[in-house]
């Protein structure tokens, strides 16, 4: 559902929506406030998005795509497996950290009934490069031979959990702590 009418306005609306959702939560999101925050009239939002539901779903995809593009930048799957895995792990960590807000939104509403199933579907495609890499790792005997999903849980789960702890003020995130976590994780999955 490509929309080309006025890309800047759409982005303004996305940013405003994200800001308000993070501030006041999803249930507290009001279309009139989104418009105001984006310096637009209420009706204008409805020119670019069919309804509130559409706005949320479009935003979800927008953020997911943006995040994926960011964290795959500079990853060259043809390089040495260990190097690619390291790069991708730190990239995922850094991108998730730097775009905490987006990530919070993505995490928070992943299971929300607001998300249409087709949006969920596209959303899953995004992690495909990681899946591919892990399958390669298993084939090359670099990783323990278990279901790729199990490996993925081990890779992505601790990152999410640590960033959550960071937001609760329970832990600092810096080169050292990131490395420590990386060592633990790799010790676990590497063959």
């Amino acid at each position: 559902m490509a929309r080309h009418r006025d890309y800047t306005k759409i982005e303004q609306i996305f940013e405003s929506t994200l800001k308000l959702v993070l501030e006041k939560g999803f249930a507290g999101l009001k279309m009139a406030e989104v418009a105001k925050e984006a310096n637009l009239a209420t009706g204008t939002v409805y020119i670019y998005f069919k309804d509130k539901d559409d706005l949320i779903n479009q935003l979800y995809l927008f953020l997911k795509r943006r995040k994926t593009i960011l964290f795959l930048q500079g990853i060259d799957q043809k390089e040495d497996f260990d190097l690619v895995l390291k790069k991708i792990w730190f990239a995922y960590f850094e991108v998730t950290m730097q775009h905490v807000n987006e990530s919070a939104f993505l995490e928070q509403y992943y299971r929300s009934p607001f998300l249409k199933s087709n949006v969920k579907e596209e959303s899953k495609q995004i992690l495909k490069p990681i899946y591919d890499l892990l399958e390669r790792g298993v084939k090359e005997g670099k990783l323990h031979s278990v279901n790729v999903e199990i490996l993925l849980s081990q890779i992505v789960g601790p990152i999410h959990e640590m960033i959550r702890a960071y937001h609760d003020g329970a832990v600092e995130i810096n080169a050292e702590t990131m490395n420590q976590l990386y060592q633990l994780v790799m010790r676990g999955i590497k063959a």
Copy 2:
């Protein structure tokens, strides 16, 4: 004497709320429906809970406490460290799985602005037994000497992630896959 306050009504209301939140999401939760589902009049809900906000917060604490009690049942911190760690890991996994709905709710609304900060505070206390255990493990030289939060991320994160994958239909969860994940995780954190 009038009929006296019936505190089982509170649990009825909690169950109804949880059911409806999981079905229709948080934004779609209606107080009248909660009451109906619990076979009560709308006003009755307001006898036990100040308002919608209060209901959600109380429910959060209720579920968090219930989950904690469940997964600490039968754990005796005086036993051998490795055994306690194993028991606690599987208990956390099993309880999270068996009470997926509650867990989904807990995960989903942990960061939600609906949660008052004092509720968040109490919520954190609940994981204390695990913290204590991990600290003991580090002291006894059984675990890698890193920040406890980092260890916790490694323990809890993959479980959450795997259950998420399970719900997306991406992986099966059984004795084998659970064990595989356990092996990976332990290989990572054990000294």
Copy 3:
């Protein structure tokens, strides 16, 4: 509609109702609060009064009667006209002042649609002694020969107005100011 069940409880309810009406206004009056203020259960109020409407109307009559009894105390219509008139004028002033709250209630709800017409009817009877006196004054040539209602306006109106000003903090009420007003009023109506 005489009620003899428990006079003290009825009076408690009257006082509580009056207090709450004056504090929060008529629209803000809640039966549950009336009961609480009177240290009774909500249901108890309904033993003594059919419903809210009945309570208001009974209270109105109760206060009106009480006020009337008070201000006619010690008035002997057989005494000299001028003396009776003076006594009655000051008595009305003093009683209205000393029971400002009741009077405020009476004034405020005199026209309220809450008042049943039969209550209004009985209410009017209460001023009868003054009417009678004024008619006597006209007959005896002591007062200007105009409609008794006009004379009454002249007698009661300034008192109400002055007490209102007193409540707005605009004027003090003491022996002197009362006398000044009395002089003005009498100069007006006396033949």
Copy 4:
């Protein structure tokens, strides 16, 4: 451009509110009925008034101002004192009579806890022209030298009282009865 705010709607709402308050009393006033009576949607009322309370207070001021403007029309304070006083007295009487409904509302809710104190404050300013006139009368030796408030009670009180009697069907109001009252009042206050 959207249709622009239509401030005549405010007056529509005022008139509807007044009508309904007088019909059903203040406690019986419903926002939905106000809207319907004004041929508007419920929500529209909330565009122009923050809430029910705000509506009542604004209405009070609106009526008070309108009444004041009306009764000061054609009064020229530079004219002969006796003439101005007479004009102002009859003007107050006539305006109060012709706008009985408004006046009833104003009287009825003057002490109501609904009125915010700032509204009461502004309300008092409105009688200033009469105060000024009475002070002038005292200075010029035309009126008895007593507190202006006492004089005011004497002027305004009987009018209110007589109109009240009129509503109870106790007296007729016409040129003759008005004049009779005027004579009594003036005999009282004139030096």
